[in-house]
Every structure is written in structure tokens, then in C-alpha cells.
Subunit: 183 residues, 2 copies
Amino acid sequence: MNHDRPFRTLSSRVAWACPWYQVRQDVIRLPDGSEGIYNVVEHPGAVWIVPVTAEGEVVLLYHYRYTVDDWCWEVPAGGLKAGQLPDEAARAELAEEIGGEAAEWRYIGPFYGSNGISNELGHIYLARGVTLGQPHHEAAEVIEIHRVPVAEALRMAQANEISDGPSALALLLCAPYLQGDGA
Amino acid sequence: MNHDRPFRTLSSRVAWACPWYQVRQDVIRLPDGSEGIYNVVEHPGAVWIVPVTAEGEVVLLYHYRYTVDDWCWEVPAGGLKAGQLPDEAARAELAEEIGGEAAEWRYIGPFYGSNGISNELGHIYLARGVTLGQPHHEAAEVIEIHRVPVAEALRMAQANEISDGPSALALLLCAPYLQGDGA
């Protein structure tokens, strides 16, 4: 199969917007020649950080999420702000969510979070030698901070106890790098 | 910390809608007493299926995604249609995307796909003894079907070569069940 771009964009407009994302509505030409509409949730991208302390613990969050009305196990994460690079966002989120600083950063890689409806590109980081300080949570962030041994955090991810999918993926992708940390 | 629901919903309206999802805009009372707005992308939920043949191959898709203008490695997946249960959707997607039927189904578990902005609940399935037939792709689905040895599919997931995050998570969560299939 030809791996060129199979769809042609005929027109594009913003159908709805809020400060965090917007919906772009495109009229497209499909490969069979017909026209269709594709709505794309335009998202600035986001970062997920697996923070590991010098004591061999992963810092996990237990985070109330209004979207799903549920408390979720997660790693620190957040959307990119305007003009922010993923590396900058990762450092900022670690500081905001757990008051954290890391001695060593490793970029694990990117992933598409929801490519059926959104252009969101997530970025996964491993942060080691993390020290915890005073977090700076916003009013809408209701978050508990937990320190969990590396092996237990990886067990939770493999057992699907980390309900935030991207956080589970981040933990599992970091596993090969955590052999010296008690994985 | 009290793990009751920390936010109160004061009002709720549909801000934007399309046939596949909608944006609900709620006015909420935050734990500090202030009011805020929370936009929730309301999604019907979706399924991801890891299909394994009797020959020990995973059936992967190489799928052009308009949202990200990219070809993505994925497993068969799709959104729930109105009134459809996840089990039914999993069987329907396997049939539609690869013309597949499975001898054995295992439910691996649920995950939140994007809990910062959406209520989407994904469901992961392992389908074994899969036979391939004639797929029924829609005009907007531009998909190649590939058969990859189980060990190679798991290597791709662990190496972050499966660009669709939920598909990579699905493969990694299925790994412990694939020891007898060449994992």
C-alpha cells in the first residue's frame, strides 16, 4: 500500500474551543473520492513522568479526577502550556505536583493518547534521584502523594491497578531501566 | 484524606456535540469553596483487542490516522456504539477490522484513556485462536493488516514502536498470558 497521506483537507474551522483544547472540524476528501467531515480534538500535548527516589521508590499520585468521578493511581503528568517544550513541562510538572527535583532525566519516548479523536502527543520521562519538596497544587487538583517501592509500582502497573492508562504505560516502558532500582 | 467526591456539580450543559462524542460543560464547586468550570469530553468508551492466531502471531494494524496525519501501529480497536456492551464491541471490531473470529476471549481490564479531559473508559481484551477473514473497513479507515510473531509484537511494544499508546498498553498487559504463544 502507498503510505502517502491518503486524505485531502478541503476546509478547516474551529468548531469549539476552551483554554485547554479545541475541536477543529475539517471537510476532507476520502480515498474513494467522497467527502466527509473529520472532527479533531486539538490538544497541545502532555507529559508523564515516572519519578524514582534514591531510596528506590516510585512517587505515585492518588488523584481525584472529576471527568470520571473517581480516584486514580497515576504518575505526575500535565498538559503543555503555550510555547512550552516537553522537557520544560516535565520539569515544571514534577515541581508542581510533588515539589520534586531530579538528578537524572531520561526521555523514554512519545505516544499518541487517543488517535481516533485527538492529535494529543504524550511524552514519557523517567526521572531518577528525585527529592520531594512542597507541591503547588491548583484548587482543582485533589491529590495524595505516595511513595511505593519500584517493584510494587511495576507490579501494580502490570496488574492493571494503575487506572490511568498513560501512567500504566509509562511505568511499563520504564521497567527495563529500573533493574538497578529494585525492579 | 477523605476519599469522598470532593467537587460538587452546580449545573451541566452540552457545549458541543458530534456523532462520536460531546463536550459537557459543568459549573462546579471546588473543595476551597470557589466555583469553576470543568469541560468533560463525554465518550461512549472503547475496546482494544490483542488478537493472537493459533500460529503464535499477533495481528497488528498499520493504520493511517487523520487526527495525527501519521501511520500508526495498533491493535484492532473501536468506540462503543449506542447500547453496545464492551464484549459485543470487541467481537464486532475484530470481525470488522480483520474479519476475525476468536476461539477464546479473555477480559484483561479497563483503563481511563485521558482522564484530564475525557470520561473515556477503554477495555482491553486478549483474543486467542484467531482466524482471519474478510475485513469490512469503512471509507475513512485506511488500514494494512500484518501478522507478527508474538515475541516481536511484545518487543515492539516494549521498545515504544507501537505509536498508539492504548495499543502498546494492551500488548504489555497481555504479555504474562502469552508465555505459551512464543512470548
